[in-house]
């Protein structure tokens, strides 16, 4: 009874002052007194004292003990700024050569708010003109003001540890996983809803699956069904040991009712039925649906050159393949690449080298999806891409990206694109 009263007295003391205000030393003194009076055994005192300290630590980390207002604790602000110099050399089919040099800026600002323990809302704005594949905006126009657009706005509901529902204008990596931007430019923020299922089977094996229904375009002018995309992507990650892991996914991305539908003005004009002349908007109606089967694989090795005495943090080898099942010819594509150096460039001296070889046949992928820097985001091309990123300091880096791309339909019309970026994250 005496012991119970002692523990209750301690609980009352802790509760009255709030865990964060009870200093570890004060708890220890109180526990010591309770031991001296024979109310608690030394073992019980140790247990209560240590568990109390752990609880305080946890509450501080959760922000509950913070003196900041609740809305500040529940909101995360993040963003980045990129200044780019870009030079491009085009050689058209008629041997007409053109060099263009431009300065560009990309600003992204995102806010993620915790509505409750299971629900998160994310909102992001970015520079841009509405092009789904770019948040860059070029300098010029006699110092004209630049436009900022809604980049994403989504809700994420984690109903169970293994079940998450995301809806709205979502981040691409909430929609599917891809080791390269062969099919989807990483700037795209898909619209619709995605169910994410995940389960860690054991410490080495994790399984997950994304099921998505995406709105591609609306059609209010006719009785036709609007284009939709349905995505299913089972994924598996396996850790062979602390240094070697493998991630694989097989997605089926079915773009329905695209056939016969007018293209986006931002399309690259490289699919059958679509035309784009110079910098004018793309026009035309799609001739096929795009039912893309896409296996993807990534092998990650930590400290791959340890045996040679070289300190290289990671090596990644990756690749993916795509085939449009709705088309019998000109329907496949692939990318292969590697990356080594630091997994993330976060501080001075961090570096990362990356190379990707990519090929897309004419109707392998919907021409409003692939990386817009790789031959203007067109299909019917082959491309080498090499990039180097070097850390200048905390959260700031310099990046150099070089693309050498050419057409695989008709004249080669090669293009060389060089980008120098100064990246800043906050």
């Amino acid at each position: 009874m005496k012991r119970l009263l002692g523990i209750m007295a301690l609980a009352l003391f802790v509760a009255s002052f709030g865990l964060s205000q009870v200093y570890a030393g004060e708890v220890d003194i109180l526990l010591q007194k309770l031991v001296e009076k024979g109310i608690l055994t030394p073992g019980e005192a140790q247990q209560v004292g240590t568990e109390t300290k752990e609880q305080v630590k946890k509450e501080i980390s959760q922000g509950k003990s913070s003196s900041l207002p609740a809305w500040v604790q529940n909101v995360k602000l993040k963003g980045d700024l990129r200044l780019r110099y870009q030079t491009k050399h085009d050689k058209a089919a008629n041997d007409y050569e053109k060099d263009t040099n431009i300065g560009r800026v990309r600003m992204r600002l995102g806010l993620e708010g915790k509505i409750n323990e299971k629900l998160i809302a994310g909102i992001g704005i970015a520079t841009g003109s509405g092009d789904p594949r770019s948040t860059n905006i070029s300098f010029g126009g006699y110092n004209s003001k630049k436009t900022v657009v809604l980049d994403y706005a989504y809700a994420k509901y984690s109903a169970l540890p293994w079940f998450t529902l995301v809806g709205g204008k979502m981040l691409l990596n909430d929609t599917l996983w891809e080791p390269t931007d062969l099919i989807w430019d990483t700037d795209i923020t898909p619209e619709g809803a995605v169910i994410q299922l995940s389960k860690n089977i054991n410490p080495n094996l994790a399984l997950s699956m994304n099921l998505g229904a995406l709105i591609v375009d609306t059609d209010t002018s006719s009785d036709n069904d609007a284009p939709m995309a349905y995505i299913i992507q089972p994924q598996a990650s396996y850790k062979f040991n602390d240094d070697v892991s493998l991630k694989g996914a097989l997605s089926f991305q079915s773009f329905h009712n695209v056939k016969g539908h007018a293209c986006s003005k931002y399309a690259s004009g490289s699919n059958t039925g679509i035309t784009k002349i110079g910098s004018a908007d793309a026009t035309g109606n799609y001739v096929y649906d795009y039912q893309m089967l896409n296996p993807a694989l990534e092998l990650k090795v930590m400290q791959p050159f340890k045996a040679l005495g070289l300190n290289v943090e990671t090596l990644k080898l990756f690749g993916e393949y795509v085939n449009n099942l709705d088309v019998s010819k000109g329907a496949s594509g692939f990318s292969l690449g590697f990356q080594f150096g630091h997994d993330k460039v976060e501080k001075w001296g961090d570096w990362q080298l990356r190379y990707i070889y990519a090929m897309l046949e004419k109707d392998s992928v919907l021409d409003v999806l692939p990386d817009s820097d790789r031959y203007g985001g067109a299909t019917g091309m082959r491309s080498h891409e090499g990039s180097l990123t070097y850390g200048l300091g905390k959260n700031t880096s310099l990046g150099f990206d070089v693309y050498r791309s050419w057409s695989i339909i008709g004249a080669k019309a090669p293009e060389t694109l060089i980008q120098a970026d100064w990246n800043m994250k906050f």
Binding site: Q46, E51, K57, L197, P203
Partner: protein
């Protein structure tokens, strides 16, 4: 429309199939806590024939990562959870609860013929890192110090390296032993030897020395006065329920704490 049906069916099948994995209790983590977990699981399963408990090692980091990721029911750890791990847990929506289940006290032992009765933590570090190699440098006999250590894969080694050596490397000529008992036996028969063992392995064959003036004992470990001691944890996600709660209650009970003592640790009862 067919495709929609396919999606709904796939989601339903996966949704039903995935949770079916969480039937038995999985304990994972610290190799120091491992013998306690194994012994407790063995006795608990004898008493509760329905219980199916799987106990795995992997280290404290693995145990904590697993409880955050939800791949185990109890994450064993010989160190407190780090702030970065708590932040990750909070991001993952996990409510990590700490349960102290025992204390780990490591006694520094010397051959009984040694006339020294006390050492400072710094002296112990100097001996184990090779800065001091003769007992005469510490006021003892002119005798070479024979350094005995646990093998590097043991939790006791890990704890000793952290608590007594500030993670400094043990001298390369130290004799590595595979168990607490082997360390105690080697120290007992080797003049000039020094070793370290769990508190439960102190016997008349070896002499436990005071560290920083504190004699290793159950009491000095429990009141945090002895410098080479630490709590051992089992972490759960949220307040334990059902069989997990029953198992933890058993480990914390007088019977469970007796098992803790038989494994060479300091019980809390």
């Amino acid at each position: 429309m067919k495709l929609m049906k396919l999606f709904t069916m796939a989601a339903f099948v996966v949704g039903i199939a995935l949770p079916c994995y969480a039937e038995k209790i999985v304990m994972e983590g610290s190799t120091t806590v491992l013998p306690i977990a194994q012994k407790a699981a063995e006795v608990f399963m004898q008493k509760n024939t329905d219980a199916d408990i799987s106990v795995r090692g992997g280290g404290s980091g693995v145990g904590i990562a697993s409880i955050i990721d939800g791949t185990c029911d109890i994450g064993n750890s010989s160190r407190p959870i780090k702030d970065s791990e708590l932040e990750k847990a909070a991001t993952n929506g996990k409510d990590i609860r700490a349960h102290v289940i025992a204390m780990d006290g490591i006694a520094v032992v010397v051959n009984p013929a040694n006339n020294l009765n006390a050492l400072s933590k710094k002296q112990i570090k100097d001996i184990y890192t090779g800065a001091i190699s003769n007992w005469s440098e510490l006021g003892g006999a002119d005798q070479k110090i024979v350094v005995i250590s646990r093998d590097t894969s043991s939790g006791t080694f890990e704890a000793f390296a952290e608590l007594a050596l500030d993670k400094a490397k043990v001298r390369p000529d130290a004799l590595m032993q595979a168990s607490n008992q082997a360390v105690a036996s080697t120290v007992a028969r080797t003049p000039g030897a020094i070793g370290y063992v769990g508190l439960g392995y102190i016997s008349g064959d070896v002499k436990a020395v005071a560290v920083n003036g504190i004699i290793p004992s159950r009491e000095t470990v429990l009141n945090n006065k002895y410098p080479i001691g630490r709590p051992l944890f089992m972490y759960t996600n949220g307040e334990p329920k059902g069989l997990v709660k029953e198992l933890l209650d058993f480990i914390k009970s007088a019977e469970g704490q007796k098992l803790v003592e038989t494994e060479g640790f300091v019980g809390l009862k």
